[in-house]
């Protein structure tokens, strides 16, 4: 076996660490296997059914959205850009989560739609459904590639095997996890990994802050390194790479805060589905709001360690001061968290951290693959290709799809590896897939005249517009970008998302003008004006924390205060 010569990244794990990692896998796979052995209604209970108490859905909602990609991506971003990364939470997540809870959730819960493709099918018919299904399947394979690449970097730094071998090993791990564990293991894993990761990141942040002399020590060190401006979150010109502060703020608020974030949160059914499993409308609406409180504070143990790594880890600090994308031994910003862990954590705690990260990437990639699987077998194959096969035929087809998706992910992980900052790549992908979907979704929900033809043509043109902007920018699509437009970094992704949104809306409106509308009776429950109004008001609640709109108000005030403190 070829051993890579990157001693900088090599984690010195010993038997205690391996024991902790092994224990985790025993736990998760054990749940999966015992679920197979005994048909337990308790497991059914946690998997499906709209009967979960608010705390369970709240917990699942929080855990599902602390993905591993987010942990590595956001800490990389924190190391490179500092406090401005908090915008991804305080501007780019909280307002959209509250919007989802207050405005969208009554509608979703009431219409009983269970997936985005299903909404497309019922609102716009087969053409939009097919376009959306294909674009969703492609997005899942690309994002699975990101997860696989990050998982491989951990295997690489743990065992020292080269990145290709690590990728193949990581793919085999995920594949066996999906086949052995099944869906029930996946759901428990998602919640478990959250707790394990917090158990590792909280002490890591504490130790790093302790070492540097607290928050004051960090700001002093950053001042000395000439990056003192990064201890303030606004105007965030480092993130957008716009020369004007004014346009940077506009880019963050409209591009990130509106199009990307509303697009992500209101159409991301992995998370929405968690909330829809609630026992009543009130719990369904409160789940994202309950989730918004930890979401506000989580960045302190993700972004702040990234910032600390850029000061404490000397090869990283060196690379940053030179303004380079890669440093000694081929390290990039994506490695910030691993480098900090290596430097500070003793054996034992190191094992907890590795177990948490491995679990999180596995959970992330497994979710992508099973989403791909469902859409490919049912939404695409059963609906359009081979319609009348027996049920077990599609189950068999699904197993094949899982293997194919894993193989494809090995390919897309190579693509992902070309990006020195994973967040930039992810934002570009969201611009392609989520921004046009959000435009079509929101138009279709609020404008009953919008036609079936407008549904699919808007989606296609919106996606093409975002792809065009990414190719014309300097680096949004890596080396494939041509640099015709002078946009770079995450600012380019914001513009691409904005373009997708605007083009989608313009095309949808234009096409609606020349094509026939659908019959109103078919749209009942799918368009806002045709949904019962009493669903939208708060039900009577005994306490303010039980009333969704009041709880959302508290969350909003808190996030505004946080923005003011760290401006």
């Amino acid at each position: 076996m070829e051993v890579l010569a990157t001693p900088i990244l090599r984690l010195d794990a010993n038997w205690v660490d391996y024991l902790l990692i092994a224990l985790y896998f025993v736990f998760v796979l054990g749940i999966g296997l015992s679920a197979r052995a005994s048909v337990s209604s308790s497991i059914d209970f946690f998997l499906s059914g709209r009967s979960l108490p608010a705390w369970v859905t709240g917990l699942a909602f929080i855990s599902a959205n602390l993905g591993a990609v987010e942990i590595m991506g956001m800490s990389a971003n924190g190391a490179q850009f500092g406090m401005a990364t908090f915008h991804y939470y305080w501007i780019g997540a909280i307002p959209a989560m509250l919007f989802l809870a207050v405005v969208m959730m009554p509608f979703y819960y009431g219409s009983k739609v269970r997936s985005v493709p299903e909404f497309m099918l019922r609102r716009f018919g087969p053409a939009a459904h097919l376009v959306n299904s294909i674009s969703f399947a492609v997005a899942q394979v690309l994002i699975a590639g990101v997860n696989l690449y990050l998982l491989a970097t951990i295997v690489n730094s743990l065992l020292g095997w080269n990145i290709w071998l690590s990728t193949v090993v990581a793919a085999i791990i995920v594949l066996s996890y999906i086949t052995l564990g099944g869906l029930s293991a996946a759901i428990y894993n998602e919640v478990l990994q959250f707790f394990v990761i917090v158990a590792a990141l909280l002490p890591l942040t504490y130790l790093a802050l302790h070492k540097i002399g607290g928050w004051g020590g960090l700001t002093d060190a950053m001042d000395k390194a000439g990056t003192g401006a990064q201890t303030k979150s606004w105007p965030g010109t480092d993130i957008t790479m716009y020369s004007s502060s004014f346009w940077s703020v506009v880019g963050i608020v409209l591009g990130l805060g509106f199009v990307l974030s509303f697009g992500y949160w209101t159409t991301n059914f992995v998370e929405v589905q968690r909330a829809m499993a609630s026992k009543d409308m009130n719990s369904a609406r409160r789940a994202p709001i309950i989730g918004s409180f930890p979401k506000m504070f989580i960045p302190f143990i993700i972004i702040v360690p990234g910032m600390l790594a850029a000061v404490l880890v000397s090869p990283l600090a060196d690379m940053k001061s030179k303004g380079a994308a890669t440093g000694q031994g081929g390290i990039t910003y994506n490695d910030s968290l691993l480098l900090l862990m290596k430097q500070l954590l003793p054996n034992g705690l190191l094992g907890v951290a590795i177990a948490g990260l491995l679990a999180a990437f596995m959970a992330g990639m497994a979710a992508n693959i099973s989403a791909f699987n469902t859409v490919m077998s049912y939404d695409i194959w059963q609906t359009y290709v081979q319609k009348d096969k027996p049920d077990h035929w599609y189950t068999q087809f699904g197993r094949g799809a899982t293997v194919v998706a894993t193989l494809l992910a090995i390919g897309t992980s190579y693509f992902a590896s070309q990006f020195p900052n994973m967040m930039t790549y992810l934002q570009t992908l969201f611009g392609f897939f989520n921004a046009p979907l959000f435009a079509t979704f929101i138009l279709g929900m609020f404008w009953k005249r919008m036609t079936a033809a407008a549904g699919w043509s808007g989606l296609v043109c919106g996606t093409l517009a975002a792809v065009a902007v990414a190719f014309l920018s300097e680096d949004a699509f890596g080396s494939a970008s041509t640099g015709v437009l002078h946009l770079a970094g995450q600012g380019a992704s914001f513009v691409a998302a904005g373009a997708a949104f605007v083009v989608d809306v313009v095309v949808s409106v234009a096409v609606t003008m020349v094509t026939p509308s659908r019959v109103e009776s078919e749209l009942r429950g799918l368009v806002y004006s045709l949904t019962p109004k009493e669903d939208l008001a708060d039900e009577h609640a005994d306490h303010w924390w039980l009333a969704p709109t009041k709880l959302a108000g508290v969350s909003l005030v808190m996030v505004i205060i946080l923005n003011l403190i760290f401006r």
Binding site: L23, F46, S51, V56, P346, G348
Partner: protein, 112 residues
């Protein structure tokens, strides 16, 4: 009616974190001075171990004190409702696809 029992997610979280805490506590006796120095003199394994043992125990205690009760009939009814809704939605899609095909054929017919 039935209790969620061992599969209650709080029991699973509690058990894993409790075990992690115990392992870290044992490991903390073997933490070398070099490792402590790296962590700025803090024996991190010890303190995180204590915290995890307490947290894990509290999670299990919570699950024992306030068990989740499962209404199995309601669960079955809900599963059936979901299956039915999914089936209906697929049927509707197929019907619409067929209607679209017919409309297209009609158009072709009138054009020719």
């Amino acid at each position: 009616m039935k209790k969620a029992g061992l599969f209650d997610v709080r029991n699973i979280i509690g058990a894993l974190l409790f075990l992690y805490g115990v392992i870290l506590l044992i490991a903390s006796f073997g933490t070398t001075d070099a490792e402590k120095a790296r962590a700025d003199g803090v024996n991190a394994n010890l303190w995180v171990g204590v915290a995890l043992v307490v947290f894990g125990a509290l999670m299990v205690l919570w699950a024992v004190r306030q068990p989740i009760v499962i209404d199995e009939e309601a669960l079955e009814a809900d599963k059936r409702a979901v299956e039915e809704a999914t089936e209906q939605s697929r049927l509707a899609a197929r019907r619409q696809a067929e209607a679209d095909d017919r409309a297209r054929e009609d158009e072709r017919g009138s054009a020719g």
